[in-house]
Amino acid sequence: MSTLLTYISVNDGKIKRSSLEVLSRCNELAEQHNLISAAIIIDKDAAGLAKQLKAYGPSVIYIIEDPVFKNHLNTPLIRALSLAIEKINPNILAFASTEGSKDILGALSANRGAASLSDVSEFELTDTGVKAKRPVMASKIISAVEANDSLVLITVRSGSYDAVEHPADSKIEEIPFTIDDIDLKMILKEIITASGDKIDLSEAETVIAAGRGVKDEEGRKLIDELASVLNAGIGASRALTEAGVYDPSLQIGQTGKVVSPQLYIGIGISGAIQHVAGMANSKVIVAINKDPDAPIFDIADYGIVGDLYKILPPFIEELKKIKSN
């Protein structure tokens, strides 16, 4: 029987929710098509994480454990996945779309001679492979695509499916792995982490996004205050990441991250298509902009026309009141 294999992304020792979403979709497809849903964890502490993963019930959890996986580095990851593919021989290897999986997808696909579909928002199985939907043209439209191959690699946008608990007594199986230092042609010298961004934007329930309209320290304070009242992740438009006001890892959009929160509040953001590409799937969109013709109002559920410096103080005050009740 053939296998649908989900790669479980780990950040800071925690399983990323977006990969549970992908696993849940594969569980569902496996049930419909009478296939095996399996997962693979490649990490320095893979065994510990595997126990947690049983709550999401793949039939088998493969683990590859090695200190080299402490930080993301593409060569060992490609090597490990290639080994896993040889051993498991899956029909599908699905990933949550992250900077880590995007880094290796193409190379792994070339390494295995397999088809790959990146950043899909929906996928299903056909008799001969996979059919999927992908947002294209800066997410203005959707393309329907197909890959017919004995192995198809896919990365899935966060928020495309729900993560559904499904406890099972999954079998845990370790795949032996070694890598020589010589194989690591490149060297990871350092990781520069942004201070303070504790909430993972791509998984946040509430996102506050700041744009060029947020001009100074005072504006940033208002953003911080609003975010803390709502326990929200802070993101930014390219205008502010480019200017160095916010860390580049906070950029939302085509170049930056895709977010799909319950509530997105865009503040001083015009709504360029490349920004919208990263937030259009938010459930409720609020925009605060002084220009009544700003394009963001075309997609906002609640469009507040006004100066953010005048709107935010009473807005924050009212939210505090609601929260304290």
Partner: protein
């Protein structure tokens, strides 16, 4: 130092588009140099200004795409290679990577730069496919780089921060547009670009597997439309409080 930059012509996503019977209808005249590739060219130019060397751009495309090579030459690249595509095949990233690999097979270089993705499809596959096919170490999503005299130090934007990586030569880098602001060609650059050499090669000459196509586009669809929302205008204090209450009472998202 020899740097090759792989560049692509893409439709301008800002141009109006239409879907008719599942087909995408775009203005055939609104094509541009992929923004991420413009950043790759810019990055190569900055390295060249500091460390010397030579920059050659490579583009696979149909006859119309040739003009995009001129754009890169006008920015300052030294020469170009135009790999003329058969128009009867719908190429995907896999086929472009296979063709590029066939081209690079017997070339010598220090680094190959690509864009991190095509602006129209956001696939983001070709660069690392090419690296794997050529057996090169690679860094994707680069936001900064520097050359030390024998290796590149590259910062890539990762999931939790910026990963600083030392990449020996030969190697491959895919560039984000967060790396720089690509220069706009000036008149002198445009004049000079006309005298710069562009070699033309046909896809058949490369002897690559022309049909290395792994994915097929079945058609295009509109995105599910969002219900147009409501605009609140007037006294700031009032509308701010009103929306805050609605987010709680009507939407239950507070």
């Amino acid at each position: 130092m020899k740097i090759y930059v792989c560049i692509k012509q893409v439709p301008d996503v800002n141009a109006p588009l239409q879907i008719k019977d599942g087909a995408l209808i775009q203005d055939a005249d609104r094509n541009i140099l992929n923004a991420y590739d413009a950043s790759a060219v810019e990055a190569a130019l900055v390295l060249q200004e500091k460390h010397g060397g030579e920059i050659e751009v490579v583009l696979i495309g149909n006859d119309k795409a040739r003009e995009t090579i001129r754009k890169a030459l006008a920015m300052g690249a030294d020469s170009g290679v135009f790999i003329q595509e058969q128009i009867d095949t719908l190429y995907d990233s896999y086929s472009y990577a296979s063709l590029l690999a066939a081209f690079f097979k017997d070339k010598e270089y220090d680094y190959i730069f690509c864009g991190k993705q095509s602006q129209d499809t956001d696939a983001g596959l070709t660069g690392s496919m090419l690296a794997e096919l050529l057996g090169l170490p690679f860094v994707t999503n680069a936001v900064w780089l520097e050359y030390s005299g024998n290796s590149l130090t590259v910062k890539r934007q990762g999931d939790t921060g910026q990963e600083v990586i030392e990449l020996p030569s030969p190697g491959l880098v895919t560039c984000s547009n967060d790396m720089n602001d690509p220069r706009i060609p000036n008149l002198k650059g445009i004049m000079q670009s006309k005298r710069k050499p562009v070699e033309t090669i046909s896809v058949n000459e490369l002897g690559a597997d022309r049909l290395a196509v792994k994915t097929t586009i079945l058609g295009y669809e509109e995105k599910p439309a969002r219900e147009p929302g409501k605009k609140y205008e007037g006294e700031p204090d009032e509308i701010a409080r009103q929306v805050a209450r609605l987010l709680d009472e009507a939407e239950n998202v507070i």
